[in-house]
């Protein structure tokens, strides 16, 4: 494994753990959703570096894109319910 990949993986690993801690400890729900999406984004870079671009695309499309959006839709619907 080249030095560049190892440095990239190290940075991504630290960022993933940081996002995970942020998602768990933050009080704001939208920040937690964004942090959970960021974990997926970093994981997809992991998959790309570890030579599986198709899994990386799936992770980026479903984990980072679809589920983050879905959480926001549901968050808005529950907030609307709470207002009534």
């Amino acid at each position: 494994m080249e030095l560049f990949s190892i440095i990239l993986l190290l940075v991504m690993g630290v960022a993933t753990i940081g996002s995970a801690i942020l998602a768990l400890t933050t009080k704001k729900t939208d920040v937690a959703i964004l942090a959970a999406g960021a974990i997926s984004l970093f994981a997809s870079i992991f998959f790309l570096v570890l030579a599986s671009p198709d899994v990386a695309m799936t992770e980026a499309a479903i984990g980072a894109g679809l589920s983050t959006f879905l959480f926001f839709v549901i968050l808005r619907k529950t907030e609307q319910n709470a207002e009534k």
């Binding site: 690993g13 753990i17 801690i21 198709d54 695309m57 879905l70 839709v73 609307q80 009534k84």
Partner: protein, 234 residues
Amino acid sequence: MLKNSFIALLVLAFGVLLFHGVVKLYKVPEKLNRTAEFYNSNEASQIGAANVVTAVVVTYRGLYTLGEVTVLFLAASVIGFFLKRKKKTAPVDAKPAGSELMTTASKVLVPGSIILGVYVFVNGHLTPGGGFQGGAIIGTAILLLALANPTYSISKKVFHWIESISGFVFVAIGLAGLLLAGGFLDTRFLPNGEMLSLFSAGAIPLIYSMIGLKVGSEISGIILELNDTQPNQD
């Protein structure tokens, strides 16, 4: 606070352990195992897809992909079944419109995302990606549309029809492989064509387009079902 820091510590320890495993224990394999060796050396002459993963997913293990699509279909129908009941009883109240920023951005992003999704699944045999990824991108576009214009409703019947027809065509192509080529889901009944061109690799682009349409319409159907559900009045 103590509980939170304990959780953070646990996550940190788990991450360090996992990362240690990834970096320390990962060795680049010297040679492929026998199955991978077979796929890698025979795929280009037999199937002709530039992307070996696609050849494995659609042809060699096509049955597995059919099962995956079936599982997704079951999930979509169960969600539709459970969410449908509340629709009639709830009054249709005016939902607040999405913010200006969302509405404007969605006008630019939604057509682009749909085209990107179609590109991803049509080129599934040439590039990494394929039916599932393309379908998920289309689903995200529909979700963005629903998020930006809450009052806007698309007929769900169109999605149900697309889903049914594409699933039917997928199985029909599999049966055509059984009749005209080596077996169920054998894609070699169409000519292999020139490698790296759009119309190549037998029936793989056709099958992946069908999977992409099916997954996209299923995810869109789930999202529209969720978006239409009214809160319980009692």
